[in-house]
């Protein structure tokens, strides 16, 4: 028998634990990415001389380099400067910062999509800028951002497997560990793939539906 069913069933509980870690990373990472991305987008928009440029470069640089190498940097380089967290936290921060660079772009286009008249109306009403951002611009920008956020959430869910390389014990690392200790890779890897699919496929259907609902109405 190529496929050992008993063995497969026996490793499912372990894999589910790994899946749960993957989900936690994804949720925390997305939250971080969404918040940080918004921060970056606003900083860029405010056009503060040096700072906006630095942020812009940071965003482009993060998008132009591999997540795996970024993870290695955080895992191996930062401790040399006395900054060290456990693997899980490092993983969440790395993937959150990585995705914030993409989220910043999403927010940027969302903010750009708000008609110029909205800014002008806010100015005409002498609204203070915090009020303009908070009550006028962002609520409209976020509408277009929501479905994209969903897409990135799913993408992050799959990408988080990369963090197994810095010893985060998520789904992929669990499958690999089972494989190397039992010398049977087929069952754990196949099951891991199916678990990824079982979560991401329905999720992307759901996001598609959201996308249609949140489509710009003008």
């Amino acid at each position: 028998m190529i496929w050992d069913n008993n063995f497969a069933v026996s490793v499912i509980p372990l894999l589910l634990e790994g899946l749960w870690v993957t989900i936690k990373i994804t949720l925390l990472g997305t939250t971080l990415a969404a918040a940080l991305g918004l921060f970056f987008a606003i900083l860029r928009r405010l056009a503060i001389p040096v700072l906006s440029l630095v942020v812009s470069f940071f965003v482009v640089f993060v998008r132009g380099t591999p997540l795996l190498v970024q993870a290695y940097c955080a895992f191996f380089v930062l401790p040399a400067y006395g900054i060290s967290f456990d693997a899980f936290t490092t993983g969440v921060v790395v993937i959150g910062v990585n995705y914030s660079a993409y989220m910043a772009e999403v927010y940027r286009s969302g903010i750009q999509g708000v008609p110029k008249g909205q800014w002008e109306a806010a100015t005409a009403l002498s609204l203070p800028s915090v009020r303009t951002w908070g009550r006028i611009i962002l609520p409209q920008a976020v509408r277009t951002v929501v479905p994209m956020l969903g897409n990135y959430l799913i993408q992050m869910f799959k990408d988080s497997a990369v963090l197994s390389a810095i010893t985060v014990v998520e789904l992929m690392a669990t499958a690999q560990a089972i494989g190397s200790s039992s010398f049977r890779y087929l069952e754990p890897l196949t099951l891991a793939a199916l678990l990824f699919l079982a979560v991401s496929y329905p999720a992307s259907r759901l996001v598609n539906r959201l996308e249609r609902r949140y489509a710009p109405q003008h």
């Binding site: 190529i2 132009g64 380099t65 990408d159 497997a161 992929m172 049977r184 891991a192 793939a193 991401s200």
Partner: protein, 232 residues
């Protein structure tokens, strides 16, 4: 910095391997993209359905899982792939599945009128696709293709995890033997960044080259030249 200089030849080897993997899997990605993307659009269910399953499975699971599966699980079926082969296959199929959606989307969003005009001119489906629909869709495909290719390039770093000696693999090797972590990783970050940047330059050059109105501009230049000759 000394480690970087001492180990420059090794890093160079790694860089070449990275480029090799990117080029091979990029080519596979394009083939897969058009094959699966066009199959997905077929009106025959036994062609479009398998393409749909392929696309959803490869997009729905992690690239790393796919790569490990090809490398570690496939031997259980008696197929032992060379690490480079497994890596290129996984990358090409995975990114190809994303790019297939690009192909499908660009073609499906073509104006219905174009197909109708082809039918009115008696053009058969294969001819329509080859001469009209695909050439028209290329400009719309290029920017998302560029994104897929940058993703693919960055994801080549994962091949280091199945023992392909690419840039990331060499960096890890040098790190463990010298301990000069910062310099090594900064160097390869910059190298990857430069490669991605070159890819985006290439994409925007292609975009300009294939823009629908490029021919128009060329024709205009020709016309204005003729006018000058006429005036003289």
């Amino acid at each position: 910095m000394s480690a970087v200089i001492d180990y420059a030849p090794l890093l160079w080897q790694g860089l070449l391997t990275t480029i090799l993997v990117a080029v091979l899997s990029g080519a596979l990605c394009l083939v897969v993209a058009f094959a699966a993307g066009l199959a997905r659009l077929s009106s025959h269910r036994f062609i479009s359905w398998p393409a749909g399953v392929f696309i959803e499975v490869f997009r729905g699971t992690s690239l790393l899982v796919q790569m490990f599966w090809l490398f570690f699980a496939l031997p259980f079926f008696g197929i032992q792939l060379h690490p480079l082969t497994a890596a290129v296959l996984a990358l090409g199929l995975n990114e190809g599945a994303y790019a297939a959606e690009v192909v499908r989307g660009a073609i499906a969003s073509r104006a219905k009128g174009q197909t109708e005009a082809c039918i009115a001119l008696g053009m058969e489906p294969a001819l329509r696709l080859r001469r009209i629909i695909i050439p028209q869709s290329i400009p719309a495909m290029l920017p998302p293709f560029g994104n897929v290719m940058v993703d693919l390039l960055k994801n080549t770093s994962l091949v280091s995890l199945v023992t392909v000696a690419d840039l990331t693999f060499r960096a890890q090797m040098i790190r463990s033997s010298t301990g000069q972590t910062t310099a090594i990783f900064l160097t390869i970050l910059v190298l990857y960044f430069v490669l991605s940047y070159l890819l985006t330059l290439l994409t925007s050059w292609l975009e300009r080259r294939f823009a629908l109105d490029r021919r128009a501009l060329a024709a205009q230049r020709k016309d204005s030249k003729m006018m000058k000759v006429g005036a003289a």
